[in-house]
């Protein structure tokens, strides 16, 4: 796939990642066009989560090169947001307190580049910002929504989602997907907004995906426009 850097949101060339003797990624070469919704598929242990963490800058690599928004993953920090199947929230705080905390970290003392306030972000995922109970008392689905609000509030150009629908019922998952599709239309200072997500619920996402990458035992087995 040959495209100019500005139209590619994330790409790897010959990336390998080892955990001890286990190769989570083997010579993975792939690229994801800016502005698209890209889906990573594969069985458990195929390397989907590792690849997403590499793009997020949370995992280093043992070989190859990675570019995210034209730079190294670390240099793109602040323009990329990551949501995993774990909620990534403080359980003892309310949803609002969590979001206010992360909004302040993303603003990093500057005027916040966030597209919306924590309150707006919570409303956008269908939660009441005035809920006073801590996150530990939320259902799994509610935690997932707060987690989504956390990443949307960061106003990212690239959104990385690792199993975002894993704890949700079908209706909740569809609502979340609609929200993600809407997110891609939000105006962005960097141009297009891109989503890369991993999921086992392919039937839900494939109808709206722009491309699909299949991994098997750490290797790319197919890469195609949907």
């Amino acid at each position: 796939m040959t495209t100019s850097t500005s139209t590619i949101a994330a790409e790897t060339t010959g990336v390998s990642k080892l955990f001890g003797n286990f190769a989570a990624l083997r010579q993975v070469t792939c690229s994801f066009a800016a502005g698209g919704l890209h889906v990573l598929l594969g069985e458990n242990g195929a390397g989907k989560s590792t690849l997403v963490r590499v793009f997020a800058g949370l995992s280093g690599i043992d070989a190859g090169t990675v570019h995210v928004l034209g730079k190294s993953p670390r240099e793109s920090q602040g323009r990329v947001a990551y949501m995993s199947h774990a909620p990534m929230l403080y359980e003892e705080m309310t949803a609002m307190e969590n979001l206010q905390y992360f909004a302040a970290l993303y603003s990093n003392g500057k005027d916040c580049g966030c597209s919306g306030s924590p309150e707006m972000a919570l409303r956008s995922v269908g939660l009441d910002p005035h809920l006073t109970r801590p996150v530990s008392l939320y259902s799994q689905g509610m935690r997932q929504r707060v987690s989504l609000a956390r990443v949307l509030m960061a106003d990212p150009e690239l959104l990385l989602l690792d199993e975002p629908f894993s704890n949700m019922d079908m209706d909740g998952a569809r609502q979340m997907l609609d929200l993600l599709l809407d997110f891609r239309t939000w105006p962005s200072p960097g141009g297009a907004r891109t989503i890369i997500l991993t999921t086992h619920q392919a039937e839900l996402v494939l109808p709206v995906a722009d491309s699909v990458l299949r991994l098997h035992r750490g290797k790319v087995v197919s890469e195609a426009a949907a």
Binding site: A81, M88, Y90, E91, L105, G109, A154
Partner: protein, 226 residues
Amino acid sequence: MKYVRTVWLHLSKDLRLEWRSRDAIIAMLSFTLLIAVVFALAFDPTGQPTTARAVSGGLLWMGLLFAATTALNGSWDRERRNQVLDAQRMTPAAPSALFLGKAIANFLFVAAVEVILGPVFFLFFNLHVLGDAKWLAAILPLGTWALVVNGTFLAVLSLRTRNRAMMLPMVLFPVAIPALLAMVQATTAVLTGEFEPQLWIRVLFGYDVIFTTISILLFEAVLNAE
């Protein structure tokens, strides 16, 4: 100012979480009070006031070291749980601000325990200060900071190890030996009045400056290590 605001953000979050759970303070307080009682029973300090003055500085700091270690071991648990640490790593905020906020919070927790433990220790060991008591105002904060700055830093280092509970004391205690020697000698000097504590206070101050600087400089590398 931006950096200070970020440190305050992390610090206020840790204080809020501890206020809600009181996990660290209750654990430390119970532990140190128990140590004070056991040592008081073992040494019969009322019958031997001179010996009590000579050894109580060491006993006080040993108790605080053990208690602080139990609290420091769990000080990153909230960040580890639900992968909150990954969410923090994704923000553009300075990683060392996270460390400083946590270290200052831990300092305040241990200091709160000292405020309660100090009078109890004096009572149980029937202590009368024979030296210049004003130096305790320097020894206690400097000694406490020496324990928590290394403990907070090394607790991150042991986050990814399997046997975390054992790992921290195994690494912390050898590193803390110079500080422990300085704080015990300085405290004993004040309690017995037999020698001046200034030299040991200077050693403690130097230790704090060196290890705080090293911890701040290395924290980002340790945080991102796999």
